[in-house]
Amino acid sequence: MRRTTVFGIPMQTRTARRRLVVSVYAGLALLVAAGWGLDRLQTTGVYVYFAAYFIGSFVFGGYGPSGLIKPFNGRGPRVQPMPSSLVELQLRMTGALERPDPDAYRNDEREMGRRDRVHYQAYQAICVLLAAIWFLALWELHPPRFVPAGLLPVLLYLIALPGVLLAITLPQAILLWTEPDLEVEAEPDLRTASH
């Protein structure tokens, strides 16, 4: 994990992270329902997407610059070149320019394995939605008689939007759901404990 708190709420325990995942998806479901009631998600659907994008980038992490999960690509924040060496010198003297801790963004082998595993699991669920979208699109081109007119585009949209939301949040949600409780801090020095 890159961080252990979300808005000041500790997330070291799996229970807390599961509550976060449930809350996020319940909130997104409410947004979708509200958007549907307002304008059939024609405009509000975009805002729902941005809400999910914000959550995926800044709360869950993984694909964004911040969040609980380390970047999936293992890259640290880009270091911007200083406009002047004097500016850099002053920033370093005040301690404002500190090198990012590699442990905050670099995944070790276990974390990369977990990353790959949750993407595999999420991929299966998203593929089911994609197949449903394709099937409905096929019906849209050749609508069967028993399907009321105007229903297929609505169904398409109602499946495509959650599909997009899951695509940008599901791997992180699975990771947050399944990772065991984090150790709050590293063990104390055993040299003092053993004497």
């Binding site: 442990d103 070790d108 082998e109 276990r110 974390e111 065991p180 984090l182 150790e183 590293a186 063990e187 104390p188 020095d189 055993l190 040299r191 404990a193 053993s194």
Partner: protein, 109 residues
């Protein structure tokens, strides 16, 4: 001493029923750490992994890659099979001094 004994007992098996953890291997990492007075963070820095991963290794919930196993082997100065095993390790006290679980001792020929 108590820390080493506790670590040794805990390391005999990854689960209370004698089965290994999810990683499928038994290990002596906790014992070796206790012998050298290392924290998980220090060992993690030495082999270039997150200290949480050291915890997963000790509990047997993660099986290391060959590269990580060799890194641990080089760091402890022991062969890999002295650190990891598919079968439960015998307690070091039993191996070295021939002390069985009932507390009795026998002379090692």
């Amino acid at each position: 001493m108590l820390t080493q004994q506790s670590a040794a007992i805990a390391n005999e098996r990854a689960n209370a029923d004698g089965s290994p953890g999810a990683g499928g291997l038994y290990n002596r990492i906790a014992v070796l750490r206790a012998e050298r007075g290392l924290s998980r963070q220090e060992l993690a820095d030495a082999v270039d992994v997150n200290y949480q991963t050291i915890g997963f290794l000790e509990r047997g919930d993660y099986a290391p890659s060959l590269a990580l196993a060799f890194a641990l082997s080089d760091y402890f100065g022991l062969p890999i099979e002295a650190i990891f095993s598919r079968r439960p390790f015998r307690p070091l006290s039993e191996q070295v001094y021939g002390v069985d679980r009932s507390g009795g001792s026998r002379a090692i020929p």
